[in-house]
């Protein structure tokens, strides 16, 4: 049964939301609903479901490119600093070794590459995802706390050109949703 969330207000609607039994049903529902021409879909799952990106038609993550840039920055910074500190700012001969050489710089260049890449992947991921974001309309869904447990949820967002709350609820039910709700913003 569809129900209107009683916290609905004049800010409008976020989406029509349907909950599905498991990940397999969810994926086939996404395929069916996209086939009907809906494009603004978002799925919420307790763990990364394989095949869901293909079903949603979302493009692969480009995070890798960002991380490569971070890694390159780390390598360059390390090499530049070791050269500047050892050969320019404070040149002192130790153990008859040259003031700067690529070989002895490798370990620190490597470590800084890893360090910057690691920061890049965590903070890059948060940046792309827009996190931290402590408020999101999906939290208005009355069973939002089930998503991290065992809720497989599909939202047809109100920004979809075809959006019509009652119609969307029917579509979700038709695709096998066990519970549906219209969620306010």
């Amino acid at each position: 049964m569809a129900s209107f969330n009683n916290t609905a207000n004049d800010r409008g609607l976020y989406a029509a939301v349907g909950e599905f039994q498991d990940e397999t049903v969810l994926i086939s529902a996404i395929e069916q609903i996209r086939h009907k021409g809906y494009s603004k879909l978002e799925a919420y799952t307790p763990f990364p479901v394989h095949g869901i990106d293909e079903a949603l038609g979302s493009k692969p993550s480009k995070l890798g490119w960002f991380v490569i840039c971070c890694g390159a920055t780390g390598v360059t910074a390390a090499a530049t600093f070791i050269w500047w500190a050892g050969a320019i700012d404070y040149p002192i001969i130790v153990g008859g070794k040259p003031l700067f050489a690529f070989t002895f710089s490798v370990p620190i260049m490597f470590e800084l590459m890893i360090l910057c890449s690691a920061f890049g992947s965590l903070f890059g991921m948060l940046g792309v995802n827009g996190l931290p974001q402590f408020y999101h309309p999906i939290f208005n869904y009355s069973h939002a706390d089930r998503i991290t447990d065992d809720g497989f949820v599909l939202a047809i967002e109100a920004s979809d050109p075809q959006f019509d709350a009652q119609e969307c609820v029917k579509v979700l039910e038709g695709a096998g949703a066990t519970f549906t709700e219209v969620v306010p913003k």
Binding site: P60, G95, F104, P107, I108, F110, M125, R146, I147, T148
Partner: protein, 485 residues
């Protein structure tokens, strides 16, 4: 074919190709419930309070020893010429090595698609961070003035030294290796924790607890679009942690290998150190998980299969370590260098013969019991071996460090190192730090990677469907099925 036979066949195929990771028929909700409930104790068990009072006391012992050391100077430790490095650096290398298993489990096994890692990776990663914290104490306090050491170790502009570090020195490389390792381990661990902290947030009643888990989980909502980037980030972190973990113990071994001391100056050190690190780390994961699993009733998630697989890793790495010892001795003999030859003979029959033999028996002999399947699946046996392994690995570092230093080129400078009570109490104290942090982790964090275990379960169910579908569409006899298997 009869229905019954098909069901039997499916079971055979499951057991052989896709053995279940979890015992019992668990749903996603059961997994959430079982793991989260540990952090939701209404009344914290008395056993936890007893344990934390003991480990807390040991932690206080550590703090008093460090205070004593700072107030009196590092002369309170037993290291002195000729053994300028002794228990401190032994403990440092030992703790760092223990940390390596966590990264191996979370990163390398992830890249190798070893799904069984999901049951143990969270606890192992936590252990990595705590072990690195224990390890860092020793070199930091060995400087004698830890509050100033930050300027000696890191290139921080200051008006007090007017100079930079020597980047040609392996000790400086080590500073970068260990601090990067600690930082990346924390980042990787936290990345894995975000979705699980969101589970705890969603299960908490409104209040302080919900606010804390809410802030820590950064508003995670499980959107498919988020998981996509999240999985990418996780894979990259695993990908960069893999060479990182290999580089850390390689660079630790450079501290020795780049010098000219007989017994240290060898090219085998990097792989030998990494192998040993994984060996001792897995043993420590085993010791802790056996206790955790027993106390928190996690037998259905950390199954006998997981333990057996870990024992296989211990056997393999233990054998690698044994092989490295043999290579070292062979090269010492083959080099024709009298100092090198004496150094190695001195290890077996010299004044510290007992240290070498303890190491040899614990590392090379005892793990060989794991060739027998019954031994690999016996809790008492694996518990004992996990402990002897870490005793052996501690002695390995002691042998490498003290036994190489105490008798150098000139017999007039030979000596015999003995630890002081401060050495001993500081080492015992680090267990206090390690175990206290572990107990706090058990109480406040999900100790099993819940979202990852669910992913594994989903994968399992899917694969089972594929097999069932195959059997439906193909008429296969029981005999043929062995061919498929």
């Amino acid at each position: 074919m009869a229905e019954l036979a098909k069901a039997e066949l499916l079971n055979i195929i499951r057991e052989e190709c896709n053995p279940p990771m979890l015992e019992g028929n668990m749903s996603y909700h059961d997994i959430t419930d079982q793991i989260s409930s540990i952090t939701e104790w209404k009344k914290t068990p008395t056993a936890w309070w007893i344990m934390i009072s003991i480990t807390g006391t040991l932690l206080l012992l550590l703090l008093s020893m460090l205070t004593y050391l700072v107030s009196r100077g590092i002369g309170v430790w037993g290291n002195n010429s000729p053994a300028g490095w002794a228990w401190d650096i032994t403990n440092f290398v030992w703790w760092i090595g223990i940390g390596h298993a966590g990264t191996l489990i979370s990163a390398i096994l992830f890249l190798l698609r070893q799904k069984w890692r999901t049951a143990i990776n969270r606890a192992a990663e936590a252990m990595t961070i705590f072990a690195v914290a224990c390890a860092a104490i020793f070199p930091l306090f060995h400087t004698g003035r830890p509050w100033r050491a930050i300027y000696w170790l890191f290139p921080i502009p200051n008006t007090y030294l007017h100079m930079w570090q020597n980047y040609r020195s392996p000790l400086e490389w080590d500073v970068f290796a260990v601090s990067t390792y600690g930082t990346v381990s924390v980042l990787f661990w936290y990345t894995g924790l975000i979705p699980d902290l969101a589970i705890l947030r969603d299960r908490s009643k409104p209040g302080l607890r919900k606010v804390i888990y809410g802030v820590l989980s950064l508003g995670w909502r499980g959107a498919a679009n988020h998981w996509k980037h999240y999985e990418k980030a996780y894979m990259i972190l695993a990908g960069i942690s893999t060479p990182l973990v290999l580089s850390v113990h390689t660079i630790v071994s450079f501290d020795f290998a780049v010098s000219v001391i007989p017994g240290w100056h060898t090219t085998i050190f990097p792989p030998y150190f990494v192998g040993g690190a994984v060996f001792s780390g897995f043993a420590m994961v085993m010791t802790l998980l056996l206790i955790t699993r027993w106390l928190l009733h996690l037998e259905n998630i950390i199954t006998m299969r997981h333990l057996e697989l870990m024992n296989k890793v211990i056997l393999a790495t233990g054998t690698l370590v044994g092989y490295s010892y043999a290579t070292e001795f062979y090269i010492a003999w083959y080099s024709g260098d009298p100092y090198e030859q004496f150094g190695f003979l001195n290890r077996i029959v010299g004044p510290y013969w007992w240290a070498w033999w303890t190491m040899f028996i614990c590392n090379c002999v005892i793990p060989q019991f794991f060739w027998v399947k019954k031994m690999r699946r016996n809790i008492a046996v694996m518990f004992i071996i996990s402990i002897t392994t870490n005793i052996g690995m501690w002695f390995e570092r002691f042998v490498i460090i003290v036994l190489s230093l105490h008798r150098d080129f000139l017999p007039s400078s030979w000596g015999y190192f003995k630890p002081t009570w401060v050495d001993i109490c500081t080492y015992i104290g680090t267990f206090g730090l390690f175990l206290t942090l572990y107990l706090l982790f058990v109480k406040f964090c999900p100790i099993i990677a819940v979202a990852e275990v669910k992913g594994t379960l989903s994968n399992q169910t899917h694969t089972d469907h594929v097999y069932a579908h195959y059997l439906e569409s193909h008429e296969v006899s029981a005999q043929e099925s062995h061919g498929i298997v």
